[in-house]
């Protein structure tokens, strides 16, 4: 009698080698960082930070990410399911990047060159994700389609924002505000028939520039570009000058201003106003600045929501020019000489044109 007995022992299936797969759940773009985090059992946020750092320092993060997106399967997907076309695209892209790297000398340079594309990729996917309320599909093609759609949406929003800025600055703010309210009402109505998330982005794209224009008090009425004004006589001197966007140079040095006050209003929507005055003229000035500054001879200042007041009295019978500036975004300068300098001297508040308001009494 055979005493040996056979026992069938059911062994658990071998787990096999650990496999790197893109995550279908923990993903922002294609699940590469989520998959790496799972593979190494670390927080995927740390992996994302490392990828961003690598993308900034040499561009390797961008190359590795794109390669992994195209070559690594998503979790649960059999390797055979990957189409040969995806692999061909991946191989072609990697070869192209390598050639570009060699041609441009170093990967560091390529990294900087690729940085805008990397940012556009992330921003475009984020915009698409926000607008749709969904995350892009797992396949590289789905990701690329979403990137392109997100990019298109981004371009449309930028165009809307620019249009809103100019429309608001040119006096159409009421209409733009009405459009924001209409978009909001449309969203409320759409909420009961499935929602319309995408409408939020264009609505914000027109609302935020309008808010900026309103807060800064930008008035673009008055023309664009460069304008030079040089009245030859007192009769030709107007009491108000304005520029919508650009620069106005108001040269009053040919004028023989009589004693007394001469009011002068200067309005700048966005840009620069330079007022050149004769040395025998005392300048008193006040200004309302949305964002920017004022420099009157050796005195200057600036900021946001900022008011300038420099009330000076003339010595003897010197004429006084009373400047009243309204600056939406930019700079108002008053000087005796034009030294070619343009723009604020914020780097050193004590450094200025070096000129003095010498026709005014010393006390303010």
């Amino acid at each position: 009698m055979d005493t040996t007995s056979e026992t069938n022992v059911m062994l658990p299936p071998s787990p096999g080698p650990k496999r790197f797969e893109r995550s279908s759940t923990d993903r922002v773009i294609g699940g590469v960082c989520g998959g790496l985090g799972r593979y190494f059992n670390i927080d995927s946020t740390l992996v994302r930070i490392a990828f961003v750092a690598l993308a900034l320092a040499g561009g390797a993060g961008f190359v590795v990410y794109v390669a992994a997106l195209l070559l690594v399967p998503v979790d649960g997907e059999a390797p055979a399911e990957r189409s040969t076309r995806d692999r061909t695209i991946a191989a072609g892209l990697i070869v192209a990047l390598a050639v570009a790297g060699i041609a441009l000398g170093s990967f560091g340079f390529v990294g900087f060159a690729l940085l805008p594309f990397w940012l556009v990729l992330v921003v475009a996917v984020s915009i698409w994700t926000f607008a749709s309320g969904r995350r892009p599909g797992e396949s590289p093609r789905a990701v690329m389609i979403r990137v392109l759609q997100g990019f298109g949406l981004m371009i449309a929003c930028v165009a809307l924002a620019v249009a809103s800025f100019f429309a608001s600055g040119l006096g159409g703010g009421v209409v733009v505000a009405g459009l924001v309210i209409a978009a909001g009402a449309g969203l409320v109505a759409a909420a009961f028939v499935g929602g319309a998330r995408w409408l939020v982005l264009p609505a914000l794209a027109i609302a935020v520039p309008l808010a900026f224009v309103s807060a800064a008090g930008i008035d673009l009425d008055g023309g664009f570009g460069q304008r030079n004004e040089r009245p030859g006589t007192v009769a030709e001197l107007r009491d108000s000058y304005r520029i919508g966007m650009g620069e106005i140079v108001l040269d009053l040095r040919d004028l023989k201003l009589p004693a007394g006050d001469h009011p002068l209003s200067v309005n700048v929507g966005a840009g620069h106003a330079l007022v050149l005055v004769p040395e025998n003229v005392c300048v008193a000035s006040k200004a309302s600045v949305g964002m920017g500054g004022v420099e009157v001879f050796d005195r200057n200042g600036g900021g946001i929501d900022w008011n300038w007041n420099d009330n000076r009295r003339p010595t003897g019978r010197a004429p006084r020019l009373v400047v009243d500036g309204r600056i939406g975004m930019g700079l108002l300068e008053v000087r005796h000489r034009e030294d070619g300098h343009r723009g604020p001297r914020w780097e050193d508040r004590n450094r200025n044109s070096g000129e003095r308001n010498s026709a005014c009494a010393t006390s303010a």
Binding site: A177, V180, I181, V188, A191, R197, A211
Partner: protein
């Protein structure tokens, strides 16, 4: 007969209401009823954008 109640999309509803409120503030400013400078307008704009982002995040969780 049972009436079907339609549950509104919380994100669209919240974002829509925020935009209506923000647009009304902007409209009043442009009509001269309010005079909002940066120190008031910036917090309002950030609050509006923040509320929309918050609604987006919460609706995605839900």
């Amino acid at each position: 007969m049972r009436r079907r109640t339609v549950r509104p999309d919380p994100f669209s509803l919240t974002a829509g209401l925020v935009l209506v409120a923000f647009g009304t503030v902007l409209l009043l400013d442009r009509l001269g009823e309010l005079d909002l400078r940066f120190h008031v307008m910036a917090p309002i704009a950030f609050a509006a954008v923040g509320a929309i982002l918050l609604a987006s995040g919460l609706s995605r969780r839900g």
